[in-house]
Symmetry: D2
Subunit: 307 residues, 4 copies
C-alpha cells in the first residue's frame, strides 16, 4: 500500500501499450500531475504537444486481461489559477441550418480559486461579466491500454475508457476499467476545473491538475465497459455514436452488472431499471459520444435487504 | 381567470385539429382527468382504446399561429391506487446482440400511495420484493395541434410536443408550446406515477390522473420547440432520432431563447451553455426520442444582474 | 378494368383520410396529373400552396386494413418543358464544420425534353454550362392513408410511404403499400424529371407530370413497409432516421418477404441476402430518410427453380 | 517501376506504424498474397490469428504526411477454391424486435471457380441448393498507417481506410489514401470472392487472395478521406456511425474534390451532385459504417469540355 509521487517527463496523445513510467501494486496510491489539454503545465509552460496529453502509463503488477482495475479518484485538484475554455458551441451540437449563426471562436480565460471552490470568467469581456461557476474538478480523459495492439487517440473513447468527458469522474468516485493487457497500463489526463454536460463547446475549463488515485486489482472479474460508483450511484459508461448506441452499451453493461453482482434475474433487473434508472450525458463533441447509466444506491439497498 | 371542471367523455390517440371539448381563455384553469395509457380510468374501467389516449383538445381563445401557449402544471395527481408498468427493457435500448437475453414481458402492478408519496411493487413476485420508489407524477404525452393539417400519433413527438415522457413535466413546471393553429388545441394524457429516465421499459408506472393546469397566452411570441421552466431551471425539449438530433434541436432552441429573451449575444450564450448546461433524457423508446437542454436559473440570475 | 381520366381540382400537403376524389376498383387504371413540389401545374400556374401537393386520394373499392395495394406505375411523364432544382447541398448532408462553406441557394432551371429524354441546365450560368442529364421521371412522394387517424406531412415518410424520393419509383415499377384504412386512399405527387441519389440538394428536377397507374388489390396480404419490384429486382423501403434504422426496417421487411412468399427459411434468406443484397439510397434530406433493400430476380429465379 | 514479389511471413490485426516488410518506390508494383479473415492461407492452413490479418506494411519511399498515395488494384484473385461466409444477418441490421427471429449462425462454404467466375454454395444444405453468384473479388480491409501514433483495429475503419468492405474496391479501381506517416505504410488484406452490399452477414465470401497493386505517390496533394476511381466513376468513402455521418464525410470530401481538382465553384459542385450523385453502401456491420459518394465520369467529362 505504498504511495508513489510521480513527476511526469513525457506524455502520450494516444492510449496504448506504451512503455510504463511506473510499476505499482494493488492498493497503491499515486500522486502525480497532469498537463492541460493544450500541453501546458502548472506554470503555464508548454511542455508537450496539445491534444489531451496523458500522464503514464502506470503498470499494475499482476493485472492480466480479463481482470478489472478499480481506480479510486482520491483527489483532483487544479494546480494553477488559470483555466481556458472555448467560446462556441460545436457545429455538430446545433441544427445543421443553425451552424451559420455560430460566432467565431475565441479562447476564454477563467480564474480558478481552489479556496472558494469557484471558477470565474476573466475574459473575453461579454455580457456574462465575471460569471462564476462552482468548481467541480474532473478528469476528461483517462483509461487503460486497449486490446488487439490498438493505440487509440485521446480525442475519442471506447471500451478502454479514453476521452469521455463525464463530470462524474471527480474526486470521490471509483472507476472500474476492463483490463486488456498485462499491467493494465493506466493513463490519466485532461483535467477540467468544471464542465457543462456534453462538453458542447469542445472544452471544459481546461487546466493542469494534481491528481491522487488508488488502484485496486479485481482478479478474474471481467467487465466490458467502464463502470463506476460514488456515494449515491453505481454507473456504467457507453462510448459510441450515435448517442443511441452509447445508451445501448451503457444499459447493457448495467443489466449485466445487476445480474452478476447484485443477484438479480433478468426480469428484476429490468423492472428496477425501468422505474429507477438515470442517465447522464458525457461528451457529445468527440468522435465517440458518451452516455452514463446510473442506478441509485438507495434502491439497490432495498433490493439487497429484501433479498 | 375562470376555473373549469371538465369531465372527458371521449379521447384521442393522435394529436391534431380535432373538435374542441372546451373553450378557455388566457389565465383560465382547467381541472380534468386523464385515463392511463391503456385507456382505463380512475375506477379501472376500460373507457377507450389504449395507446396514450388524450383528454381534450382545449381551445384557447385568441390563440393564433405564431403565438406561444404557456401551460402551468398546477397539480398532477394519481386518482387511483394501482399503476402498471412493463417489465422488460425495450429491444432498442440494449446492444443488438443482447436482445436474445431479454426476458419475456409481464405486466407489473404497483400500489400507489398519494399520502406517503410512494409507489410499491405489488407483483410479479421477484427478487425486488416490494420495491418502493418515490412518487413523482408526470404527464408522459401532451401537446398542441401540429401545423399543416397533420394529426400525429400519441406514440411519438415533434415540435408540437406529444409523447416526450420527460419526468420534468411534473407539478410546478410551466411548459411552453409553439402554437400552430387557431385555439392552440391543447391535449393532455398519459400520466405516470413515476418513471425512470428514458422510459426504457416502454412505460412509466401508468395510471389515471387528476390534472389541473392554467394556461397563459403569449401573443406574438414565436418559439420552435417545447420549452419549460421550474424553480431551478429553464429548459428546452428536442424530439427526434437519433438522440444526437434531439440534442441539436434542444440546444439550438436554448441558444435562441438565451439570445431573444435574456439579452445575450451568440458568444455569451455559447460561453454560458458550455460550462453550465445540463441535459436530461426523455424517452428513448418511442419513434422520436427526447432530449432536454437545461440552464440553471442561479447562473442566469448572475447574468441578468451583471447586465 | 376501367381507365379513369381524372383532373384534380385541389391537392393535399399531408397524407391522410381525406375525402376521396375518385372511387376505383381492383384492376382499374387512372390517368391523372400532378403539380410540381411548389404547386405549379403544366402551364406553370400556381394552383395550390407548395410543399409536395398530392393528387387524390383515390378510394379502392374493397380495400381494407390488412390488405396490400399494388400500384403499377405505367407512365410518369413530364407535362411541361421546364423543371426546377435547388443549387445547394443540404446542411445536414455535409460535415457540420463544412456548413459555412456552402453557397447561397439559387433556383436552377432545367429544360426538359421528353423526345430526347434529357434534362439540360438552363440557368444559373455556371461552370457546368448546359449540363445534360438523362431523363428519369419518378414520383418523389406518394402513399396511402396511415393508421390511427394520422395525417402525415408530405415532407416526410413512414410505413404508409410518403416522401421517399427514391429514383426507383419510376415507370415500369410496381409498388406495394400496406393498407391501413378502408379504401386505401392513395395519394400521388412530387414528380421529378431526374434526381441524384439522396435528393441531397433537397429537390430533384421538380416538374408537373402526367401519371398513369393501375391498382391491384391483394386481399388478406399483410405487409409492413412499402415494397416494390421492377424487371431486375424485388425491393423493400425503410423510412426513418438515422439511415441505420431505415436499413433495419428495409432489411427486416425483405427477410419477411423472402420467408413468406419465396418459401425460404431464416437461414436460406440470410445466406441469400448476405451475398446478393443491394441497397439504394432514397432521400437523406427529409425528416425521415429512406433506404431500399434489393434482391436480384436472377438469384431469386435460381432459388425458385432449385426449390 | 520495379515489380516486387513479396511472400508474407507475418500479419497484423491492427493498422499502424509497424515495421515495414518491404520498401517500394513511386510506380512500383507489388505482387503478394493475403490470408482470409480467419487467418487461413491458400492451402487452408491457419498461419496467423483471425480477424482480418493484413499483409504489409509496405513503405513507399518519399511519402510524407500531407501527400496522397494512389493504389491501383491491378489484380485481386482468389488463390484457393474454397471460401466461407456467415449465414445470419447481423443483429444490428434488423429491427431490434426482430433479433429474436434470427437463426443460429453456421459457417457456409462456397466453391470458388476462377475460370467460370462464379462462387457456388456448397453447404449447408438449404433451400438455396447450390446457389451461384458471380465472382467479384475485392479487398475488404486495406489502408495506411493513421496519424497521431494510432494503431487501429482491422475490425473498423476511419480516414486511413481500414475495414470498409466496399465491393467497389476491386480490380481496375484506383484508391487514394491520405498519408499520415513517412512511408505511408500500406496494409492489405481481407479478400472477398464476392459480397452483398453492407456485408450484412458480417462476412463476404472470405478467401485468401493473390493481390497485385501498383503505387503512385502524389506529392503535396492533401486529401482527408479515401477516394477512388474506376472506368465509370470517381468516388469518395466516408467511415463513421451512424450512416448519416458517413454520408456527410463522403459528400464533403467529394465537394472538396470537385472544387480542388475539377475547377468547379461551390454552386456548380452542388448543382452537379444534386442531380448526378450516386451512393453505394460499404459495410453496415463494423463499428464504423461506410458510405461511398460517386460522380459519373460521363457527367464530369461534360463539365470539363464545357469549361
Amino acid at each position: 500500500m505504498a504511495t508513489h509521487h510521480f513527476q511526469p517527463t513525457h506524455y502520450h496523445r494516444a492510449i496504448g501499450s506504451h512503455e510504463p513510467v511506473l510499476r505499482i501494486s494493488d492498493g497503491d496510491t499515486v500522486v502525480t500531475t497532469t498537463v492541460d489539454n493544450m500541453g501546458q503545465d502548472a506554470g503555464g509552460t508548454q511542455v508537450t504537444a496539445g491534444g489531451n496529453p496523458q500522464t503514464g502509463p502506470f503498470y499494475v503488477e499482476g493485472a492480466e486481461p480479463g481482470d478489472t482495475l478499480a481506480v479510486q479518484l482520491d483527489r483532483i485538484s487544479p494546480n494553477r489559477a488559470v483555466g481556458y475554455s472555448s467560446s462556441v458551441i460545436a457545429a455538430n451540437v446545433v441544427d445543421p441550418c443553425y451552424v451559420r449563426e455560430l460566432p467565431e471562436r475565441v479562447l476564454a480565460e477563467w480564474h480558478v480559486d481552489n479556496q472558494r471552490r469557484t471558477a470565474t470568467l476573466n475574459k473575453p469581456a461579454t455580457k456574462l461579466g465575471h460569471l462564476t461557476v462552482p468548481l467541480a474538478p474532473m478528469l476528461g480523459c483517462f483509461g487503460v491500454a486497449p486490446p488487439r495492439g490498438q493505440v487509440i487517440s485521446t480525442e475519442t473513447s471506447a471500451e478502454h475508457g479514453g476521452n469521455m468527458d463525464y463530470p462524474g469522474f471527480q474526486s470521490g468516485a471509483t472507476v472500474y476499467f476492463p483490463i486488456f493487457v498485462s499491467g493494465a497500463l493506466l493513463h490519466v489526463g485532461d483535467g477540467h476545473a468544471a464542465q457543462g454536460d456534453g462538453e458542447i463547446v469542445g472544452t471544459g475549463i481546461e487546466i493542469s491538475m494534481e491528481v491522487e488515485f488508488t488502484v485496486r486489482l479485481i482478479k478474474g472479474k471481467r467487465i466490458r465497459w467502464p463502470r463506476g460508483e460514488n456515494a449515491e450511484y453505481i454507473f456504467s459508461a457507453g462510448n459510441a455514436r450515435p448517442l443511441d448506441q452509447a445508451v445501448q452499451h451503457a444499459t447493457t453493461e448495467m443489466l449485466r452488472w445487476l445480474q452478476e453482482d447484485y443477484g438479480l434475474d433478468a426480469t428484476s433487473a429490468s423492472l428496477l431499471l425501468g422505474q429507477c434508472v438515470k442517465y447522464d450525458l458525457g461528451n457529445v463533441f468527440d468522435p465517440a459520444y458518451t452516455m452514463v447509466c446510473k442506478v441509485p444506491k438507495a434502491q439497490l439497498q432495498q433490493v439487497i435487504k429484501g433479498g
